[in-house]
């Protein structure tokens, strides 16, 4: 009896097809060039309605296996510090699982189906190795010393610091990234921003995102700085922009209660 049951029990563990791990084929470009983005003035950035009207929204699809996908755009130096922000869809939070002192807002688990991840790097366009819109590159150069030995030089100017103060670092799934670039003395010089696709949403393999460049320091950047980046859910019943809105209003508990399919079981 036991000998019969054991294989059945083992087989039951294999009832997952894994299809959700295979990218969905779409017509959305895997490598996207957005052109030159306008650098918002500090006043335009501070005014929320003006800021949101000047945010650039776009989406990238799944690259072919073995190829790098993502988006690029450029901006011109303004002889001041600028901040580049990118917010991939949709929203991510850690579920609060504490038995005592549980945070009600985070009591429901995150719905990760519409979450993607873009990793940002920024450098002078002269140092960019890719072909905009065709092939994604990086900012690595080669230095050969007097004895003929070569070493890689990293021209990426985007230095993000990790949780444990390590560099380089990138934010994770569906989490906003920002980088401060000092363009003083380089007014009118072109910079390239590379948003490399690290992971795509599992529901449609289309990663929508919002991005903007403004003059000033990167401060108080969070998920709610660039809203409504989750534009195009495969199933119109899934309103990830609404989920983000609830997240920013700290009303997730009520939202998840009313729309349980948007969140997991608490």
């Amino acid at each position: 009896m036991n000998r019969t049951l054991l294989p059945l029990v083992l087989l039951s563990a294999c009832d997952r097809s894994g299809d959700y791990l295979v990218p969905v084929e779409t017509d959305v470009l895997p490598v996207l060039e957005l052109g030159e983005l306008y650098v918002l003035t500090p006043e335009e950035w501070e005014d929320r309605s003006t800021r949101e009207s000047l945010v650039t929204y776009a989406e990238v699809g799944a690259p072919s296996p073995g190829e790098r996908g993502g988006a690029t755009f450029t901006f011109l130096g303004v002889d001041a510090k600028v901040c580049v922000v990118v917010d991939p869809e949709a929203v991510f939070w850690n579920q609060s699982v504490a038995l005592q002192g549980q945070l009600e807002s985070y009591a429901w688990p995150d719905n990760y189906l519409d979450d993607g991840d873009l990793d940002m790097s920024i450098g002078l366009s002269a140092n960019y190795t890719g072909s905009p819109g065709i092939e994604l590159g990086d900012f690595e150069g080669l230095y050969t010393d007097s004895l003929g030995h070569s070493a890689t030089i990293e021209y990426d100017l985007c230095e993000m610091v990790g949780y444990y103060s390590q560099t380089p670092a990138h934010a994770g799934r569906a989490t906003v990234e920002s980088c401060e670039i000092d363009t003083r003395g380089r007014a009118g010089i072109e910079y390239t921003v590379v948003l490399r696709t690290f992971s795509l949403p599992m529901d449609d393999s289309i990663l929508s995102f919002a991005t903007a460049v403004y003059e000033g320091a990167c401060a108080n950047i969070d998920e709610c700085t660039l809203p409504r980046e989750a534009k195009k859910p495969l199933d119109p019943d899934y309103d990830f922009a609404g989920l983000e809105q609830a997240y920013c209003a700290n009303e997730m508990s009520a939202y998840c209660h009313d729309n349980p399919y948007m969140c997991g079981d608490p």
């Binding site: 010393d145 007097s146 030995h149 021209y155």
Partner: protein, 291 residues
């Protein structure tokens, strides 16, 4: 029955003969610090000056392997640099490897953070003498009182590090004898010329024929501080009770950007040793006084 064991032993031994063909070598040699670099004029409480020569005045010695060392870019010999990406910053020297003779270690009390180099002090008495009498920068306990008792300092260190023996205290250069006594085990020894010589080991260094071994000693400033120590690094700091400070440690890019850390008073290699064979045993001399 014995065959499996013989096979297993043979297989294990085979693993030890595998040559990974790594282009890295361990360079072993000596470095000589001139007597003048270990000599200071000390003024006692009554204003009398005297000249003291002691290895405690020798800071960490930094050595690296570089493609070339040339004159011109700075007021002292300096390794070749890569491109300068920031006008306010020198180029990276892209060293093949490096090491140091002595490193900063935290001698338990905040007042001596970033000021104690390993391999220089053989006892608590020597630390107290150096700071309290020579440097006129007394060792202070957490309450701001000058530490004059060796016993008190020792017990505080054992408490701070949860230690029970001298060999757990990295800043003490001592060696335990079979009879249980401790004898000094300093990095440097005085040679017949009156200079100070230490052995060094530069492990896992990329070997490129013709590369040069170069370095310098970070001599303590007039205030007995060191430019190569980063006081913002936590080091072995403890953040309990009312202790809230960083214990300090070496900067991480000392060999990549030496010019950021070399100051007047340091001694530098003027003639870098050129490696012509992986078996070379360099004899490095820090003979250039940067004044």
């Amino acid at each position: 029955m014995r065959s499996p064991f013989l096979l297993l032993a043979s297989a294990t031994l085979c693993g030890c003969s595998f040559d990974e063909n790594l282009p890295e070598i361990e360079i072993v040699g000596t470095v000589t610090v001139p007597r003048a670099a270990a000599t200071r004029t000390i003024t006692d409480d009554e204003g009398h000056e005297s000249e003291v020569t002691d290895v405690r005045f020798i800071g960490p010695v930094y050595l690296g392997a570089f493609p070339d060392v040339t004159q011109g870019a700075f007021r002292y010999p300096h390794p070749d640099m890569g491109p300068i990406l920031d006008a306010a910053y020198p180029g990276d020297t892209y060293p093949y490897g490096g090491t140091s003779v002595g490193r900063f270690d935290f001698a338990c009390l905040e007042s001596v953070a970033c000021q104690v180099t390993t391999g220089r002090f053989a006892s608590f008495e020597q630390i107290l003498e150096y700071f309290n009498e020579w440097a006129d920068d007394p060792v202070l306990d957490p309450y701001g009182e000058e530490v004059t008792s060796v016993r008190y300092y020792e017990q505080y260190c054992f408490w701070y590090y949860y230690a029970t023996s001298y060999d757990e205290l990295g800043f003490l250069a001592v060696e335990r004898q079979e009879d249980g006594t401790w004898v000094p085990d300093l990095d440097f020894e005085e040679n017949e010329d009156g200079d100070f010589v230490a052995e060094f080991s530069m492990p896992h260094t990329l070997y490129v024929e013709g590369m040069k071994i170069w370095g310098w000693v970070d001599s303590p400033s007039q205030a007995y501080t060191f430019s190569t120590c980063d006081s913002d690094r936590p080091g072995p700091a403890r953040y309990d009770y009312d202790m809230n400070f960083e214990a300090g440690g070496s900067h991480q890019d000392i060999l990549n950007y030496p010019s950021l850390y070399i100051y007047q008073g340091d001694w530098i290699v003027s003639e870098a040793w050129q490696m012509t064979s992986p078996e070379d045993k360099p004899e490095i001399v820090l003979d250039f006084a940067y004044e």
